[in-house]
Symmetry: C2
Subunit: 324 residues, 2 copies
């Protein structure tokens, strides 16, 4: 098995080599820019790990791995326009640094380039890989639309929220693992088990994201702690708090949600206090652990030596106890 460090280096080098020099520059410079901003690269790393797990050559999976990261960054580029986000990974977003039109069209061509990388797999799995990739891409778009819809409604249940993050976040991790498995000649059944592993891990990962946004260490988190609270983002924590709150807490929550120009730190502290009273952090961690355990059960079920699974398990566990 290849080490995490080796795989990350492979990915980083492959992304570096995939710099575009094509014209027009307005179209390709933003791709080079967003791809150079880094990030955890967890989707391509998982793709390579899945291939490696079944004895496939990670080099044969490298194009698809870069393709998954390219697709992920395309969705970020378009999401940032839709969310009017000024900052991504500490730097200006593409639609701010250039303009919206550039971000739309550069995103479109990133999607083309992602497909071009995907079709480099062997003939015998080409159709299967493209089917997984297409279904995954459609789910991610659906999840983003549902997420935007949730901004306009007060009535989002926990189940609806979990389904949204499944589509928006988890399915891509799952798709990356399934594609990596197919490239590693895992066969359909094992590849689908890996998909289930990824889907549950992805939901757990997003729940951890929700928790960190409120309870993360400001010095390690990398973003403003409390950002979700300030923007009234309907995360698991807020939805669960609204569900569980008694009359008084509900009134206070509503007050802060509807407050115009509240003092930021006061709003964050007040809402966090309500979460604390209701034990929301523990409930979120329970939900996260439920999905993490389910994920690991799928991993256990695979007919592969336990020590080969170790690197995947460790990478998954690291992602769930991370601080940023």
């Amino acid at each position: 098995m290849q080490s995490l460090h080796t795989l990350q280096n492979l990915i980083n080098e492959a992304i570096e080599e995939k710099r575009f020099n094509e014209k027009p520059a307005e179209l390709y410079d933003p791709i080079n820019y967003i791809m150079s901003l880094g990030g955890k690269r967890m989707r391509p790393v998982f793709l390579l790990m899945a291939c490696d797990l079944f004895g496939g050559s990670v080099l044969s999976a490298l194009d698809a791995a870069v393709g998954i990261e390219m697709f992920h960054n395309f969705t970020l580029m378009h999401d940032d326009i839709m969310d009017k986000a000024p900052i991504r990974r500490g730097k200006e977003t593409v639609h701010v640094k250039w303009n919206e039109n550039v971000a739309i069209l550069s995103g479109d061509i990133m999607f083309v380039e992602a497909y071009k990388l995907m079709i480099k797999v062997e003939d015998n799995i080409l159709r299967d890989v493209l089917k997984v990739f297409g279904d995954t891409a459609a789910s991610v778009c659906q999840g983003q639309q549902i997420d935007m819809n949730y901004e306009q409604t007060d009535e989002v249940s926990v189940d609806e929220y979990l389904e949204m993050i499944r589509l928006k976040t988890a399915v891509l991790l799952a798709g990356a693992l399934e594609i990596g498995s197919l490239i590693g000649n895992a066969g359909h059944e094992n590849a689908q088990t890996m998909y289930q592993f990824g889907e549950n891990l992805g939901i757990a990962f997003q729940l951890q994201d929700d928790i960190l946004d409120v309870y993360g260490d400001p010095e390690k988190f990398g973003k403003q702690v409390g950002g979700d609270i300030l923007s009234n983002k309907k995360t698991f924590l807020l939805i669960k708090a609204l569900e569980d709150a008694g009359e008084l807490d509900n009134e206070e929550l509503s007050y802060w949600i509807n407050a115009e120009n509240p003092e930021p730190q006061t709003k964050i502290q007040s809402v966090t206090s309500i979460y604390n009273r209701l034990g929301i952090r523990q409930l979120a961690e329970q939900e996260m652990n439920r999905h993490a355990e389910k994920a690991l059960q799928y991993l256990e079920a695979l007919p592969v030596d336990a020590d080969k699974k170790q690197i995947l398990r460790r990478f998954a566990e690291d992602l769930l106890v991370r601080e940023n």
Copy 2:
């Protein structure tokens, strides 16, 4: 050979059947909307004709034909955002009827759906079809970016303009013909000849579009005659006029290009008069005919019975003497 009428009916029915009922509605309603607005459907018709020409079953090419039309409409949906266009085919554009975010994300998922339709071709041509489709899609994006760049510069040569319309318009027609040929088992060489036929035809088609925008019959054209003149769009006609004009005409052209809030009909009539003095319509028609003839030479060169080519030739010729 199938008649034009039969092929158009097949396409229209297949598009009608491909209506989406998936959720969320904000994502899929705009797809159904834009696909129902009609248009010439010339790209899918050409795709089916190409398949038919080489003895392939047009039914086996129907998914790819709808896929090409889906891709084309995705580019229109995104282009309309970038161009801030309020009207498409006489109806509100998607970003006006819904909003920009919906138009971005619905467009993205149309692109996914186009790929999903494309991968329904047979195994033996899957990779080739996807290669043509990916290269085509990248060219269309490049062409759109170059077109937007040309709005910001005064120095566009005729050759640069022809290269831009090749990428933005002609390549997709060419790609549709190549893919249809591959599905019809034409083999690589013939499929590439069909690509050349389409590329030249597509350039001729766009030049005819430029001419119609100035010289079309207002009752048949469907859009405002003179729209390109009003918006100072750098078409073949304007670029050529700026190139050929003597000092006086150049001064008058510059005056109208820089005029703030000119009376529309006066501007249109004045610029058209300059074009007339310089014989620009004839020069544009010469350039169009040069590409049309080149296109037909490629068609001639194909090792297929002449009477089988008749329907393709007639459809091509009809597009070049059209009035809207």
